[in-house]
């Protein structure tokens, strides 16, 4: 992978647990792809899904800070004008036309944030607005929920937010899905899941148990 130097345009908090890093970077990419980030002098890069739609001459990275992590504590110290090294884009967690169910946990919402323009352009087909289930521990950390709620109101997306902790916690995604009947699952040609390994494993088990053919399930693990 070839790393190029890129300038930090902004760095701020996103919700309670998230951070948003905007980088000056204008290579073409497909929604759902990742970049690798590393700091000059630290040769061990990490991968991040691009969290904004293409065509903006900048990319947004959504991340959570892991106290004992190698890169994220350092990312959080970056200031506008600082230099970071970026490689990519890469990966193939790409949207497909047809009826889609998307499920995101935590920062796993990033690839779906980059699909915003596809949703607005009805790229998926006339009668197949995607359904998005977004989950996180706290309501403040439902990154981009205002964008998805707006798309929902405009009948471009069916959006269901889930929160597992705090006063607004409700049923978990797993409980909600388990309560759906078979026709719900049958309606989707493709189910895309993005998040932690345990989420991928639990949801895949649940979906297979509900009769969904594994050929319809695509996942991206933030390993």
């Amino acid at each position: 992978m070839i790393f190029v130097r890129s300038q930090v345009l902004s760095s701020d908090r996103w919700g309670l647990a998230g951070w948003r890093l905007v980088l000056d970077w204008s290579l073409p990419y497909v929604p759902g792809q990742w970049v690798q980030l590393r700091l000059p002098g630290l040769d061990d890069p990490r991968m991040y899904s691009i969290a904004n739609p293409p065509g903006q001459r900048a990319i947004t990275i959504l991340y959570t800070l892991l106290a004992e992590g190698r890169l994220t504590p350092r990312l959080s110290l970056l200031k506008p004008g600082d230099i970071i090294e970026v490689a990519g884009p890469g990966g193939a967690f790409e949207a497909e036309k047809g009826s889609n169910l998307w499920i995101a946990g935590g920062t796993g919402i990033a690839p779906f944030l980059s699909m915003q323009k596809l949703i607005e352009s009805k790229w998926y087909g006339p009668n197949s607005r995607p359904t998005l289930l977004q989950s996180n521990k706290l309501e403040d950390d439902l990154y981009g929920s205002e964008i998805f709620s707006d798309l929902n109101e405009r009948n471009l997306l069916k959006y269901y937010p889930f929160v597992t902790q705090g006063t607004n916690s409700g049923p978990r995604i797993t409980e909600w899905l388990d309560a759906q009947d078979r026709s719900f699952f049958k309606a989707f040609e493709r189910i895309m899941i993005c998040g932690s390994t345990s989420m991928i494993l639990d949801l895949r088990d649940l979906l297979l148990g509900r009769g969904v053919d594994f050929h319809r399930i695509v996942s991206e693990v933030y390993f």
Partner: protein, 349 residues
């Protein structure tokens, strides 16, 4: 000092041991001597390392120990395969398999407790990642079993994705080759194709490489192996094409799933993808795992698949299924011992 509180020297590389003795004010060659005692001579008693000098031996014995991981359980199959189980922490087990055959004795080692990669057909995947193994914990799976001296081949095909723990895997390879004197030609690292780790493995070692392929079609491979969304197989191929495989072996692992990846189209596409490479393809029978949508292709059809690949010039072998009566497939035993998943209150879904 209580022995458990002492630092463990087992698994340290030559460079690490040279630095350690240097920091104790000793000449660096003492590190080479320590390395030879520990690995070449398999002496784990520091006081028995007679050429180190009494004061260094005393100092090391006070501060350090040489401890190989304990075996907690061994199962032997009717075909001679033995499965060892090791407790890595209070709640995590890893396993290794000793596979004796007439012309070789192979040890299959684990590199992680559990795994993050979520492959659909894998039992280890169901544990998630519990822990990364240190080089010492990888080497200990070899040094700590009674058959150790008979082992001719090491394969990194047990629990975990070796190249998700690249640093410790590279150190353990150094231990096997420089320490225990095994030839790189007899060591194979199997990976699903984690590109940064694969680059390092190809650059920094001469061991054989086995890539888990399981489908030549990108969209299908994605469904079987989520890593395909992150590191598509075509990028893995691109990297492999830059290396010379005349002095080290390149192979592809292909588990045949009934009615899924065992069709004529699959066979044709495999030929197209792999023929330009100097490689072999190992066709594997699927060990059934509970609640899986996949089942194994019957033996006869595996042989037909193999015959087609061979007729088109690929070197294709069918790997014998070993130790099925003791669940010798990767992760079956330890997952039976333990399925530990994160607590519900820590989850974001």
């Amino acid at each position: 000092m209580n022995d458990r509180k002492k630092g463990n020297l087992y698994g340290l590389t030559l460079t690490e041991l040279r630095n350690l003795v240097k920091n104790l004010g000793e000449p660096e060659y003492r590190g080479n001597q320590l390395f030879e005692w520990m690995y070449t001579h398999r002496i784990h008693n520091l006081q028995a390392m007679t050429n180190l000098g009494q004061s260094l031996r005393d100092h090391l014995s006070n501060e350090y120990r040489i401890q190989v991981i304990d075996i907690s359980k061994v199962d032997e199959s009717t075909d001679g395969t033995k499965k060892y189980l090791y407790p890595i922490s209070t709640a995590t087990y890893v396993e290794s398999a000793y596979i004796p055959e007439t012309d070789r004795k192979t040890l299959c080692v684990s590199t992680q407790g559990g795994c993050k990669m979520a492959c659909l057909f894998c039992m280890t995947a169901r544990q998630g990642l519990q822990t990364q193994l240190s080089a010492g914990e990888i080497l200990g799976q070899y040094a700590g079993i009674p058959e150790s001296l008979d082992i001719t081949h090491i394969v990194y095909m047990g629990m975990g994705e070796p190249l998700d723990n690249t640093e410790e895997v590279l150190k353990s390879i150094e231990g096997f080759t420089e320490g225990y004197g095994l030839s790189s030609k007899r060591i194979t690292v199997s990976t699903i194709g984690i590109l940064p780790g694969l680059s390092r493995l190809l650059e920094e070692t001469e061991v054989n490489v086995a890539i888990s392929l399981h489908s030549p079609f990108a969209e299908e491979r994605k469904r079987l192996m989520p890593v395909q969304s992150v590191y598509p197989f075509e990028s893995v191929l691109e990297l492999l094409k830059k290396y010379d495989f005349s002095r080290r072996k390149l192979s592809f692992e292909y588990i045949l799933f009934d009615g899924i990846n065992d069709t004529a189209d699959h066979a044709q596409e495999l030929v197209r993808l792999l023929n330009p490479l100097r490689c072999r393809i190992n066709l594997l029978h699927f060990h059934p795992i509970p609640n899986s949508p996949l089942s194994g292709t019957p033996r006869k059809r595996i042989e037909e698949f193999q015959a087609y690949l061979k007729s088109k010039g690929l070197i294709a072998t069918v790997r014998k299924s070993r130790g099925e009566d003791i669940q010798a497939a990767c992760g079956l035993l330890s997952t039976k011992e333990l399925v530990r998943r994160p607590l519900a209150e820590t989850l974001d879904y």
